[in-house]
């Protein structure tokens, strides 16, 4: 679904009760179950910019 290394991802919302996470990726919105979302490793873009 377009979650490849180096892709910008933003969290749109998180469902309550440890529910799925809705992320915006490549202009689309995708809901990911907790188990799948926990395998998505991210780095803060802000931090990235500062360190440069």
């Amino acid at each position: 679904m377009g979650l490849t290394p180096g892709t910008n991802v933003n969290v749109v919302r998180v469902a309550p009760l440890k529910g799925p996470i809705e992320v915006g990726v490549r202009g689309a919105r995708v809901a990911l179950g907790q188990d799948i979302a926990s395998n998505v490793f991210v780095d803060s873009l802000q931090k990235h910019k500062q360190s440069r």
């Binding site: 377009g2 490849t4 469902a15 799925p20 990726v25 689309a28 809901a31």
Partner: protein, 664 residues
């Protein structure tokens, strides 16, 4: 690229051999992601001339239709909605095999303009398959609302294929789309096939491998460059088929893939997917402009439907509304239908007389039951459900319910078949095909066999709400849901395997399309006609004969230890439960005849009424459901599930009887 000559050489003759009548027809295939409006385009093009079936040997639906376009007969094939040509799902395999083996004259790639980048990922793969392609840039109105403008000409140049903008739901641009597609189909082999290149170090290796494949002269329906890419992606099917023909190629592809993965410190398939996405990203960024917009209505609705409080309220509201609508409309229609049919002659479940009379009574009774139950309740339910589904609300409900579904080893998407089960279990079991693995399909189907379908609800209403009280009827509903949960958890332990997680695209809200809703409703209700109606008719005739011959009474007497001793029911209920195997609402209908009065409270105590309803709901999936289970999973599974239902009913029923006796 020069290697499409080999493809066209064996193309037409193959089709001629298959069906000479179709030789001069053009074939258009529709391909694209799920929910991009592909079905809307398909319905517009083919109207009522659709044939819906299965792909040979697969549980994937195949839709085909005929289009008369300016004197030409055009066959339109609607491929399943997919995101990629891998082997992740049956749909993907079916689609790529169709394109490679059956050679449609042109493929229309329907693309959601409001999510261009993600859709282009698939477009790129279609280009890699070297098909004659036209891109249909659909949902331009939705893109506009999101502040996105797309330069159509630039996109054409970037992809090297014609692009047509459409708003399919309003029919805009579809004439132009068809015209372009027909033109492309008729001028094929003249145009240069476009080729989108990857980064240098990958492209070099693809080229090298493709050359090797060409020189080995491996007979394959797939283009060499595509095979090369798939080999590098470690595609199991292609690897197997190529590996069996040429070990040299297999070794070379492994070596090249290892080089790529060494360079990028990633699996080669991930590198290629990344590259493809960055290609899609570059093209999308180049052709579209995003202006800042106000919060759209869809976004506001999103906030409400997924809020931690309002979200659950709307989810519950949607479900309650759906059931309320069904039973209000269903009740009205059912009364209307049964009045109309009673005019032809009343049906007496305990009819006796000549054999022909008995048989006729059974057949007619089954038909009446089908007409007064299935049509009035199930069809309105499915129409409303299809609207909820197409509007995008159901996706939000699934999003909110994912956590709960995980408790029974399923994820949010399983909610759709489960809700279908509230109408009728038969189409619901078929709908389990949307689940990714066989294990999940099985778990979902098992849960469905307990779902309170229209017939079970009638039983609850007729036995409990009418004679004991509405509160107890609701309690039975609650117990049923608790049973689904408890049994789901047990099944989860028993069926080996891993659960898969939820990956589900969240689409913007939209106004449901009439054609999609009616098509979806038909797809679901048609299994009622070929499974439920015949079973109802044949089953009813059979039990009627058994009753008349006098087999049922001794049988029900033999059930004494279960019915009377364990469940505290009158011995006559044995007859009801045997009849109820055919169709559950029969328990209610026949009890009037068996006890000789419409006031069942005279013959049964409140405890017995509740216990009978509870047993009636749980004790076995009805005959039609068992047939549907056997069709999808085989007889062994169908029998096991039925036995599990029976055991559950005995345990829950026995406990309920003892507890209720203390209270009531």
């Amino acid at each position: 690229m020069a290697h499409h000559s080999t493809k066209s050489a064996n193309k037409k003759p193959a089709q001629n051999r298959r069906d000479p009548a179709l030789a001069r027809n053009l074939t258009i295939a529709l391909a694209g992601n799920a929910n991009v409006g592909k079905s809307v385009v398909f319905n517009h093009l083919t109207g009522s001339s659709q044939i819906i079936g299965n792909w040979p040997g697969k549980t994937v639906e195949r839709a085909q239709g005929l289009l008369n376009f300016e004197g030409r007969k055009v066959i339109v094939v609607d491929l399943p909605g997919i995101y990629s040509f891998s082997t992740f799902s049956m749909e993907e395999i079916v689609s790529r095999e169709y394109i490679a083996f059956e050679h449609p004259d042109v493929v229309i790639n329907v693309v959601d303009a409001s999510v261009l980048e993600r859709n282009l990922f698939f477009t790129i793969q279609l280009i890699e398959m070297e098909v004659q392609l036209v891109v249909c840039l659909n949902q331009m109105d939705a893109a506009k609302r999101k502040g996105i403008t797309i330069d159509q000409e630039r996109l054409e140049q970037a992809l090297g294929v014609p692009v047509v903008s459409t708003v399919a739901i309003r029919g805009e641009g579809l004439y132009e789309l068809t015209k372009t597609a027909v033109k492309v189909a008729e001028n094929k082999n003249q145009s240069e096939k476009p080729c989108l290149k990857y980064g240098v170090e990958i492209e070099e290796r693809i080229e090298k491998l493709a050359q090797a494949i060409k020189s080995e002269n491996l007979a394959s329906e797939y283009p060499p460059r595509w095979i090369a890419i798939k080999l590098l992606e470690n595609d199991p099917e292609i690897k197997k088929s190529i590996g069996s023909k040429s070990e040299k190629i297999a070794h070379e592809s492994e070596a090249l893939a290892a080089e790529i993965s060494h360079m990028h410190k990633e699996h080669c398939f991930a590198v290629i997917a990344s590259e493809r996405y960055s290609l899609a990203n570059r093209i999308a960024a180049d052709v579209q402009k995003q202006s800042i917009t106000k919060t759209t209505l869809s976004e506001r609705l999103d906030w409400v439907t997924t809020h931690r409080v309002f979200g659950y309220l709307t989810s519950t509201g949607v479900m309650a509304g759906l059931l309320l609508w069904t039973f209000t409309v269903g009740g009205l229609l059912s009364t209307m239908f049964s009045n109309a049919l009673n005019f032809l002659g009343p049906v007496n479940p305990t009819f006796s007389g000549s054999l022909v009379g008995i048989l006729w009574n059974g057949v007619f009774g089954g038909l009446v039951a089908g007409i007064t139950l299935v049509i009035p309740y199930v069809i309105p339910f499915y129409i409303m459900l299809a609207m909820i589904e197409d509007s995008g609300i159901l996706t939000r409900v699934a999003f909110m319910m994912d956590t709960a579904m995980h408790k029974i080893g399923l994820h949010g998407k399983a909610l759709i078949p489960l809700i279908l089960g509230y109408g009728c279990n038969v189409p619901a079991i078929r709908a389990c095909r949307i689940m990714e693995t066989k294990r999940e399909r099985l778990l979902a189907a098992f849960a469905i066999t307990f779902a309170p379908c229209a017939a079970r609800t009638i039983l609850i209403l007729g036995l409990v709400a009418a004679f004991v009280g509405a509160g107890w009827a609701l309690a039975l509903y609650a117990i049923d849901i608790a049973v689904i949960f408890a049994l789901g958890r047990i099944a989860l332990k028993v069926v080996p395997g891993q659960s898969t997680g939820l990956i589900m695209e969240i689409h913007s809200f939209k106004i449901p399309s009439l054609s999609v809703v009616s098509k979806q409703t038909w797809a679901r209700t048609k299994s009622l006609i070929y499974i439920v109606f015949p079973t109802y008719i044949a089953g009813s005739a059979l039990v009627q004969i058994l009753y008349a011959v006098g087999v049922l009474k001794p049988l029900s007497d033999a059930l004494y230890p279960l019915t009377v001793a364990w469940l505290g029911l009158p011995v006559k209920t044995g007859i009801l439960l045997i009849l109820g195997i055919v169709r559950k609402e029969f328990i209610l209908l026949a009890s009037v005849a068996v006890f000789g009065s419409t006031n069942l409270a005279l013959s049964l105590t409140p405890v017995q009424l509740i216990t009978l309803a509870l047993i009636g709901i749980l004790y076995i999936p009805c005959l039609s459901t068992i047939a549907a289970l056997a069709k999808e999973f085989g007889w062994k599974t169908a029998t096991t599930i039925s036995a599990a239902n029976f055991a559950t009913a005995l345990i829950v029923g026995g406990i309920a009887f003892r507890l209720l006796s203390l209270v009531l």
